[in-house]
């Protein structure tokens, strides 16, 4: 890896098609800064993205990447990391990708605790399909498919993560550039599954969860005496629906990654040109 990697090295020459003002610009820039600051480079980084506005992120970045099937970015990312633990692996998606169609994988990815980062661009709306309710939309949020609101409580992704045994749970705000990049970097460097829910406002279809709303309501935990290693304190913050928190909410400092637990430490692309030397022993087992 080269030592003088700049965050712009992670930028591709493809111009984003996101709406002007979309939170995803800030989200992506922060991820690129976090990657550069963590010391990796594009040839040793793997981005995995799902479907939706957020899913386009891999195209606008420069690294090894795959833009996969809706909701399945987490198993892909885990597969990449386990096959080559030397890579820095980041999965990115939206609230629909991660908490609706991919919700099942989210819980299990948290449990599995593979050493990777997962950034969810949470805009509380389906943007690419032009404005339907998402799993994080408010109960009374009126959309084309929910004229009176979804009438279901929004998913609390932080609580889901905590319940599933999450070892790193954080939240950031796309336009709070410095904090967002710091938090994502910490998620990347965390020894395990670093989960960051990023408030990434949709300027076109969500007139409730706006930049102004988050600016007015966000509490940066760095400005409080919150101790992210205190599980009970983290639980309290996560279940507190009266506020929106920014920062690392919970961090298990004794986290041991899946790879370490299972001794997965080899680049699996290195294989011999024939069967392993002692392969006949496999046959003899069947005597």
């Amino acid at each position: 890896m080269s030592s003088n990697v700049r965050f712009t090295d992670f930028k591709s020459d493809k111009q984003p098609t996101w709406c002007p003002g979309c939170g995803d610009f800030g989200t992506m820039n922060g991820i690129m800064k976090a990657l550069a600051n963590s010391g990796t480079d594009p040839d040793n980084t793997f981005m995995v993205a799902g479907i939706g506005c957020s899913g386009k992120i891999g195209t606008y970045m420069h690294s090894y990447a795959i833009h996969g099937v809706h909701g399945r970015s987490l198993p892909v990312a885990a597969g990449v990391k386990l096959a080559n633990p030397d890579l820095t692996v980041v999965a990115a998606g939206g609230d629909g990708d991660g908490y609706s169609i991919g919700a099942g994988h989210f819980i299990h990815a948290v449990r599995r605790n593979v050493d990777m980062a997962y950034t969810v661009m949470d805009n509380r709306i389906y943007g690419l399909t032009k404005g339907q309710a998402s799993p994080t939309s408010r109960e009374d949020f009126e959309t084309s498919t929910t004229p009176e609101g979804p009438k279901q409580p929004p998913v609390n992704p932080l609580a889901l993560s905590l319940a599933a045994g999450g070892t790193f749970i954080a939240q950031s705000f796309a336009t709070d550039h410095k904090r967002h990049a710091e938090i994502v970097q910490e998620a990347i460097e965390h020894d395990g599954f670093g989960f960051v829910n990023v408030f990434s406002p949709c300027v076109t279809f969500n007139d409730v969860d706006t930049y102004d709303y988050f600016r007015d309501n966000l509490v940066d935990l760095a400005d409080t005496d919150h101790d992210p290693t205190d599980y009970d304190a983290a639980k309290e913050k996560i279940l507190d629906s009266s506020k929106e928190y920014e920062g690392v909410i919970y961090k298990d400092e004794s986290s041991v990654s899946y790879e370490e637990k299972f001794g997965v430490d080899q680049n699996m692309s290195d294989i011999p040109s024939g069967a392993p030397d002692d392969a006949m022993d496999l046959v003899r087992e069947f005597y």
Binding site: T45, R72, P75, S273, G274
Partner: protein, 586 residues
């Protein structure tokens, strides 16, 4: 007596049927006899009816037949279920003291051996060994040297301590001696032994072993009958070679995990059955269009939906050939025997990487959970060759960079195969996507690029057809006017059916086709024949349809979809009936 001997143990799930049957099969294998096993089992942990059947001979056996010589029946239902296979003189071993066997009815002409299995087992050290007592009794009936049982007992119970092994040996001898002492009946069996060393292996295990041999280092799967043995085989073994098995939360995750590992450069595999293929079909298109090498094993079972989960069927061919929206090439290889499960898996990995395609390995229940003996040389590891295709490294990547220094993972090439850079390769960073893409792997809706990429992907199939040998396996009389075609596990039963037919003066040519796509062009062979019969375990004749489509010729069909594999003798009768019907109508 016939050259082969057919034995079974049956009872309820939970009776230890499987492990007892396996011990007997292993004893025969260790004694240098060929063995072919089959299982009747239900999707339940306890109760119902389950049986483990063993066919053995000095010569290779590769099919089941409709004949049972010795049956250890732990329940009356075991006898009832096997009435068609039992014959005059068949021996039924049972324990009249067992409540379920109190009113046992031994069919006329058969020999019932009422042996106090439980009581003898208790004397030897515990009632749990009653099945082993029955094995000892079976040795007496079959005149099979009981010492051969000892090594199988050692293998099964060695881990539990010498005392357990000794008790089991004692239990076996108690059964043997009981028969010798209490029955002066002359049994017409004499199971000879040889000095040959055979391995006893099932299709799932052969697939797993083939994967390791081929350099597979990553496996992700979700347990499902009858594919679970693949995962269980790899777990604990693949790690020795630096690999890893992940038990995923579902099949959607399994194929995506495997896809991720393949993108990172690992030889990667998942295995499932039809219901899992349904889920994996979602990601199949992504695998194919991102040109990711991946091996997907479908161990077919009876469908649709949950179908008959423990029963045989070859009903997923259409799904593997055509599954998924849109159009994209995939390879489908179908091993035709248990040893071929090994070799076709090795080949599947080479196809996957040489042509950067998903490769289905189409196995089926009848071979997956069946054990068969082979010489170890059948799996000669020195013969395994690994071809990784067009992989570029830090140096060779230069020729695949565009004028702006960007790597082109979907470069338009004459053979359709593009270069592949594993992550970590310098200058290789690139995008892959399920969207239609340009040579750089970036989304495009450009009309000419769309057409060029579709044509490029299709060109890989043409290249493979020119490069690879997709020939069928040939059996029988090459000059016969009657041509039998089949695929998958029916090969063994058909090869033995040829012998039965020959005894009746009927010579046929049999082509066993292991490649479903790309597949051999059989036009010449079909035109040379007067009669063409396609044999397969499904109702609609999925392979027959493909053959008719390819050769523009109507074929006759023998289809079986009752959940039970073909038996050699039954198949010979069906072929005769099909040919006779033809004569009558002519």
């Amino acid at each position: 007596m016939p050259a082969d001997f057919n034995w079974a143990i049956g009872g309820e799930a939970g009776d230890g049927i499987d492990s007892t049957g396996k011990i007997f099969a292993q004893a025969l294998s260790r004694a240098g006899r060929h063995v072919f096993t089959s299982k009747d089992f239900a999707s339940r942990i306890r109760g119902g009816y389950t049986a483990y059947k063993v066919r053995t001979a000095i010569d290779p056996v590769q099919s089941v037949v409709d004949r049972l010589d010795v049956l250890i029946a732990l329940t009356q239902r075991t006898i009832d279920e096997n009435l068609d296979e039992l014959h005059e003189g068949s021996v039924i071993i049972y324990d009249g003291d067992r409540s379920t066997m109190a009113d046992v009815e031994i069919p006329e002409g058969m020999v019932g051996l009422d042996i106090p299995l439980k009581a003898l087992a208790e004397e030897a050290g515990g009632a749990i060994m009653r099945n082993v007592v029955a094995l000892g009794a079976a040795c007496a009936v079959a005149d099979f040297p009981i010492e051969n049982l000892d090594s199988a007992l050692q293998k099964r119970f060695g881990g539990k301590g010498e005392a357990i092994v000794e008790n089991n040996k004692k239990a076996a001898r108690a059964g043997l001696e009981y028969v010798h002492d209490e029955y002066d009946h002359e049994f017409d069996y004499d199971l000879e032994t040889t000095d040959e060393d055979y391995v006893l292996i099932n299709g799932d295990q052969a697939i797993g072993m083939g994967a390791i041999a081929a350099g597979c280092r990553f496996y992700a799967g979700y347990p499902i009958t009858p594919a679970t043995d693949v995962m269980e085989y790899l777990t604990g073994r693949i790690e020795r070679y630096g690999g890893h098995v992940v038990q995923a939360e579902d099949e959607l995750a399994a194929i995506n995990l495997a896809l991720g590992a393949a993108r990172a450069g690992a030889r990667s595999m998942t295995a499932t059955s039809g219901p899992g293929i349904d889920l994996m079909t979602e990601t199949f298109g992504l695998v194919a269009t991102s040109e990711t090498p991946l091996v997907i094993v479908d161990v077919m079972r009876s469908g649709p939906s949950t179908g008959m989960p423990t029963k045989q069927e070859q009903g997923d061919l259409n799904m593997m050939l055509y599954g998924g929206h849109g159009e994209i090439p995939r390879f489908v290889v179908a091993p035709t025997s248990i040893d071929e499960c090994f070799w076709k898996t090795v080949e599947a990995f080479n196809f996957a990487e040489k042509y950067q395609v998903p490769v289905y390995v189409a196995a089926d229940l009848a071979m997956a959970v069946t054990e068969q003996t082979f010489s170890p040389e059948a799996f000669d590891m020195d013969e395994v060759e690994i071809d990784r295709g067009k992989v570029v490294d830090d140096d060779s990547i230069d020729e695949w960079l565009d004028e702006e220094g960007r790597f082109q993972p979907h470069a338009l090439t004459d053979d359709g195969v593009s270069p592949r850079a594993f992550p970590g390769t310098e200058q290789g960073a690139h995008m892959s996507t399920g969207l239609e893409h340009d040579e750089l792997g970036r989304r495009t809706e450009d009309r000419s690029m769309r057409v060029e990429q579709v044509d490029k992907r299709d060109r890989k199939v043409e290249t493979a057809k020119e490069t690879e040998d997709f020939s069928p396996r040939e059996f029988g009389d090459a000059d016969s006017d009657t041509l039998i075609l089949s695929w998958g596990s029916n090969e063994g039963a058909l090869v033995e059916a040829l012998d039965f037919l020959e005894e009746d003066g009927i010579d046929v040519r049999f082509l066993s086709v292991p490649y479903m796509f790309p597949r051999p062009d059989l036009t010449e062979e079909i035109e040379a024949a007067d009669e063409v019969i396609v044999v397969e375990c499904n109702a609609t004749g999925q392979f027959a349809n493909v053959v008719e489509h390819d050769t523009l010729t109507r074929v006759k069909r023998i289809n079986k979809y009752d959940g039970v594999r073909f038996k050699a003798d039954e198949l010979a009768d069906e072929i005769k009936a099909t040919l006779d019907a033809e004569e009558v109508s002519a």
